[in-house]
Amino acid sequence: MKKFGNFVANDNLNFEVYEGEIFGFLGANGAGKTTAIRILSGLSESTSGEVIVAGYNAKKQPEQIKKNIGYMCQKFSLYADLTVKENIMLYGGIYGMRKALIRERTDILLNKLNFREYGDRFISDLPLGLKQKLAFSVAVMHEPKIVFLDEPTGGVDPITRRQFWEMIYETAARDITVFVTTHYMDEAEYCDRISIMSEGKIVALDTPVELKKQYDAESVEEVFVKIARPGNTPHPTPISSRGEGE
Amino acid sequence: MKRFLGFVKKEFLHIFRDFRTLVILFGIPVVQILVFGFVVSTDLKNAPVAFLDLSNDEITQKVSDKICSSGFFRRGETLLNYNDIDKTFRKNKIKAVIIYEKDFGRKLISEGKASMSIITDGSEPNMATLITNYITAIVTDFNRELAGSQTTGKLMVQPEVRMFYNPSLKGHFMFVPGVITLILILICALMTSVTITREKEFGTMEVLLVSPLKPVQIILGKVMPYFLLSFINVIMILLLSWLVFGLPVKGSLVLLLAESMLYILMSLSLGILISTVSKTMQQAIFISFVGLMLPTILLSGFIFPIENMPSGYGWVAALMPPKYFIIIIKNIMIKGTGFLYVWKETLVLTVMASAFIWLSIRKFKIRLG
């Protein structure tokens, strides 16, 4: 399988992500998740190392990368003073989609989210859960190769979180790679593979099942607590990201 | 009270930690006073004048030389015919054209009179008036010299002039008071209205409102640091105008500072009032900047004297708070008069400040209620 993302921010952050997988990026607050995701999506520049996203070098071809990724950040960032439809129209336009196509996708999108009646509402009037689902839909509307989600479900109720993850699965099923950071450990169980970050380093990377086995834990949460507790040096050797392939 | 002081301290820290804003806040008045003290002037000097000399004899050259050596004018283009006049004016190369009629010198000697005309660029009315008057004066002088050789003595009424308060007609006597007035009201109104709307826009106002602080305390706490900042600004400006422009405070410094405090208070209350009517920072900035800037410059007597305004404008100007402060500042600073001369203006400013505060409190209560 072809390598999809390749990321070396420093010697300690070295991993690959595969096409169509849901890659969970875990870590305590301040572990460097957001920095990593900002570098991958081209919002920040890495000081050293090599970043390849969607087959393009982040230093040399940042704009090529941007055509092929979607991004949804922690802080909600659609335009609050525009309506749902206007936001969709704007981002569709920015990604160079034809007007007819934008309309068609808008319809599908609104139907899928049971959003019909919200089309002409201002974003600022929507409840948080709807906002997040909308932001995600907009982020993948142009069918990117990979989408980065930075704590997409922060502050959202459990039911909406569940629905949100269904959307993530659907997206991955369309061969869109999903790169998601979270600190809800139950969400980590839904990922194909997860990496756990601590103090700017990746200290574990594998499928949830494997990790639980390695650390002799019941849940990912337990794994996380074992690894990420301060002063706790993880006992298995740090995982090389040069993935074994799947 | 302790809670309130804590809040004020927090607000202070908030402002003083932002180094850039601080630099701007103190830098603006300093730079602006310096720039305007040196730049803004209406003196006539070296205005380019073109000559259309249809005679080109000894006398016309003498007159031209006299005009150009006055220091007020310098020789611009030399024109050859009437059509050139419009062309050069349109290029903005000259301010005035002087035309000597044909056979000027010969006529003056044989017929005893010769005519010249001054054409000025009326698109700048001030300049045009000044230039016409100056040239006329120079030529009248020349006439007198001519006459002097033939008639007995001088027949003229000679006015002696004393320019009071500002003998050398310096622009900054006008501009220092004006700039203080302008900057204080704009900065104060802007700062307060924007900090308060910011809290509204970002939703942090609610947090403050549910705190045990009273709304009045919240507003006071927000405004207090700016009061102090503005006061420091006043002192800096006064120091500058004294040290750099030699414009000392002739009257009582204490009175002037007290009046400045009143004016700052009025401006801050205006800012609070603006914040109660604006929903976003953009709106607040728009009202307190675009809304206040030109009216303050133009209607307060800063540059254009209120007496010259058409009838009816007395009322409009009477509504402009800066008008009163300019009168106060000019009186105390330049004329050196005491409180007796400015008590009316002081009263008006006090009433205005109270009115703004009263209106804000009412608006605030309505919104909360």
């Binding site: 900002r38 941007k66 979607g70 909600f76 960032s77 525009l82 129209m89 704007l90 569709g92 920015i94 990604y95 | 830098g27 603006i28 602006q32 803004v40 002037s41 209406t42 903005n92 005893g112 009179k113 660029d121 698109s123 700048e124 009315p125 300049m127 008057n133 040239i135 030529v139 006459a147 008639t151 007995t152 003595g153 001088k154 027949l155 009424v157 000679q158 006015p159 320019m163 009071f164 308060y165 007609l169 310096k170 704009l186 924007v194 920072m281 953009q282 900035i285 728009f286 900047f289 800037m293 540059i303 254009f304 004297p305 007496e307 010259n308 305004m309 409009v316 100007a317 000019k330 330049i334």
Partner: protein, 372 residues
Amino acid sequence: MRTILYLIRKEFLQIFRDKFIGKAIFGVPIVQMLLLVPAVTFEINNVRLCIIDRDMTTESRELVNQLEGSTFFKVRFATFSEQEANNLLHRGKCDLVLQIPPGFGKETGIGNPGRILVSVNAINAVNAQLSWAYLNGVIRDYNMNIVAENTGSLTFGSFPQIQISNRYWYNELLNYKYYMLPGVLGILVLAIGFLLAGLNLVKEKESGTIEQINVTPVKKYHFIIAKMVPFLIIGLIDLAVGLIIGKLTFNIPFEGSIAILFLGSAIFMVAVLGLALFISTFSGTQQQFMFTAFFFIIIFVLMSGIFTPLESMPLWAQKFDLINPAAYVMRINRMVMLKGSTFQDISRDIWSLTLIAIAFTALAVNRYRKTA
């Protein structure tokens, strides 16, 4: 190219979504223009005089009459006490004190120079200069009369005399509105465009929406241009409305080509917006931007030559005005509207302004970073 259109559409939507701003960008300039333009004038028609006539002769009364007869002066007070006169000047009750010492009539009667003393309140130097000039004009006329009387039956030609006539071109009656309107319009458009465009960009930074834009393949210059175009259009509409109102209410002359006027203003707007956006790339919060904008706008405005002539400024200030877009637009507006200057006449200004516009815009595009 299509991307830019989507972005521009979004900016327009956002500007007009704020009901207040949507109205204010047109309402405020119109109201201020109507209110301010007629108000400002140096036309002196009301210099308040205080007369101290210590001479009380026909000659002195003749002089006072002549002053009263002129449209510029109003004799408000007459007194014999110098102290009282000075007091009136002090309290701002009169602008000018004219003192005619005893013996004035006698001296002029026998052909000697008659002295008079004039005290002017000179705090406002412009006003003082102008009223002094007017007073001189009246005195000159008075002198002429004396000369004529004294030389009496002798023909006027008994001694040579240069006769001066003068005319004001382009604005014969020295109507101040013609002078102020193009300037006030320029400044309003400057302030609105500068503030709103800059705040707009900073607001996107503050609220984080710019992040979402930055991860898209939008080109830097697309983004900057999209921020400029709406305010450029709004500015030009403001200008058009202002001109129409100026024509209807003040009968402002339009000597030159409207197209050139708009061309000049459009380039001016680009320069202003470019600078505003450049500054906004440095500013983290709307407050920071606001203060920087405040600084620039006030300096641009007061140094633009709208109130005081550029020629009277010191050389360094005139040099600074080479990069002050407001100075250019002030000149261009007045030249084109009042004097009918053609493109040829103002081409130097136009090219310089274009250069400034390109430079500021390039700086803005360059400084705007899609990565933090």
